[in-house]
Amino acid sequence: MASADVTAVPATRTVEPEQYTGPRAKRRNNSLTWGIVGWVVGIVFFFPVLWMVLTSFKTEAEAYTNTPHIVFSPTLSQYKAVFSSGLWPYVANSAFATIVSTILVLLLATPCAFALSLRPVKKTRDVMFFFISTKMLPVVAAIIPIYIAARDLHLLDNIFTLVILYTAMNLPIAVWMMRSFFLEVPGELLEAAEMDGAPLRRTVVEVILPIVAPGLAATALICSIFSWNEFFFAVNLTATQAATVPVFLVGFISSEGLYFAQLCAAATVATLPVVLAGWIAQRQLVRGLSFGAIK
């Protein structure tokens, strides 16, 4: 389709005067200019994050100045304060909900995605669209029955409630992603295994799983990010026992204007796991965020 458009562009073969002054020098200059623009834009976008990390190493007095201090003697006291004010249970809850729900998601999504990748029939599409349509429905419309059910079942403020909800929240993404990985497994491999008379179970474990292992890792990463950052269910369904890290940060709204540095330390701790994971797995990020539509 693209090649047809080329002819639409008027083909002017006039020689540009710059070509005589050396195209290579021009290209180098260009690259330098774009490099500077790129770095400036990158730093502007990153600046709020940088500022958060810098502020987290300040004392509160240094954080509250009209003219911000770029140079200061860093202190770890804010981090100590955050952890001694009871951040650990929140981190433990977040980690538990994230890890357990991600394992459950993979256990449920992998067979499902495999089945959906085998023979594309019309029903396959219906199932796929059903899964993704659940992502589009506003959770706020489901929270009331969920809250009342959890209350009646004595599951309020219980970490397993979050585990179940996070599993349901991430399952559609995982099915879409995993299916896109299964589709990349060459069909001949399956046929060859079938010809050898290997049972399907062994084929899956010994032939297919090793191929899609990177896909499993990418899926796990995406699901973990969403679970770790989830706030709406956590703030509505937990109180003291099962509250997660985002809920811990809510405490800082009320004490506004008093603890900038400590708030930044808490925010840094809360965001660090996901930022590191995202940096390491940049390529997989695109695929996961597009539900496997973009390779």
């Binding site: 080329v6 562009v9 790129g38 959906l116 419309a141 009331i144 706030f231 940096w279």
Partner: protein, 312 residues
């Protein structure tokens, strides 16, 4: 089911059919756990919401629960606050997604060029998207937008802005700035993937033919990017329209309801006003509107993607 076997079926044929049916179940069985789980956890609550929406029920007054039919819906459509928050939701979603996409395309074009440290810049640029939304909102509310100690006012001080209260003056705009900051990297990543999948030889051919860079962009790159942009817009909109974290952390919907969106407003009705029936009716209205808008958009886009996958 077995009653509708074709009359001409011989014995071996019947066996083949039942064999096939068994194989069909073997193929379907792996689907079921995920499917059943998803239906129970995500669909059942909506059915219950539908039921609640026909009741008048205050959580704080036991025994107040009774059937009222469509009275809640009548109230929802007369509620001017519901209309305001619906409008806020539209402004917030359209504005955030549009601006984030424009910036995302520009940044992706920038990153598609070769320059020193491009990988590092790319890493810096995706970071806002990785920040926990609650933390990001808190960060903007305090260290960046604070009238006295915020860095934004410090930066604008040479322009005579002084102690400007950004969130107080532009609550909706401030929330949108925070969300645009978080979503631009998402758009950039998708568009960049599109740019890098563009066949290089066509571009070179066009440039050899003397096509100007802007013409190449308009005639070749933009049509190629269309699917990626559409995908980014739809996925971004799904998340932004449901955003709760930024509104909750930055403004609590205030002042008044000037920056409340539908998720926050319904949450307020249910958990601060304890009006289960009304909140449920609002939820149903939102779900119906979402389904109408989303079905078209989603089918269009994912069909176009899977279509080209097979062609390639």
């Amino acid at each position: 089911m077995t009653a509708i076997a074709p009359p001409v079926a011989g014995t071996h044929r019947v066996r083949a059919r039942s064999d096939e049916r068994r194989r069909g179940w073997v193929r379907r069985a792996p689907l079921l756990p995920a499917l059943v789980f998803t239906i129970i956890i995500t669909q059942l609550p909506f059915v219950v919401t539908l039921y609640y929406s026909l009741e008048s029920w205050s959580l704080v007054r036991p025994g107040s629960r009774h059937f009222v039919g469509f009275a809640n819906y009548a109230q929802v459509f007369q509620d001017s606050q519901f209309r305001t928050t619906a409008l806020n939701t539209v402004i917030m979603t359209v504005g955030t997604v549009f601006i984030a996409m424009v910036l995302g395309v520009l940044l992706a074009l920038l990153l598609d060029r070769k320059f020193l440290g491009r990988g590092v810049v790319r890493t810096l640029l995706i970071t806002p998207f990785l920040i926990m939304p609650v933390a990001a909102a808190l960060l903007w509310k305090t260290t960046l937008f604070d009238p006295t100690f915020g860095i934004v006012n410090f930066i604008f001080r040479p322009f005579g802005i002084g102690k400007f209260d950004w969130i107080g003056s532009f609550p909706l705009g401030s929330v949108m700035i925070e969300m645009i900051w978080q979503w631009t990297p998402f758009m950039m990543l998708l568009v960049l993937a599109g740019l890098q999948s563009q066949p290089k030889d066509t571009l070179e051919a066009a440039s050899c033919d003397g096509a100007r860079p802007f013409a190449i962009f308009r005639e070749l790159t933009l049509p190629h990017l269309r699917r990626y942009i559409e995908l980014g817009v739809v996925l971004g909109a799904i998340y932004v329209v449901n955003d709760f974290d930024a509104v909750y952390m930055m403004t609590q919907g205030g002042p008044g309801i000037s920056s409340a969106n539908l998720p926050f407003y319904i949450y307020q009705r249910a958990f601060l006003g304890f009006q289960v029936g009304q909140a449920a009716a609002m939820g149903v209205v939102v779900v119906v509107a979402t389904i109408i808008i989303a079905t078209f958009a989603l089918r269009l886009i994912f069909t176009s993607f899977s279509g080209t996958e097979q062609a390639a």
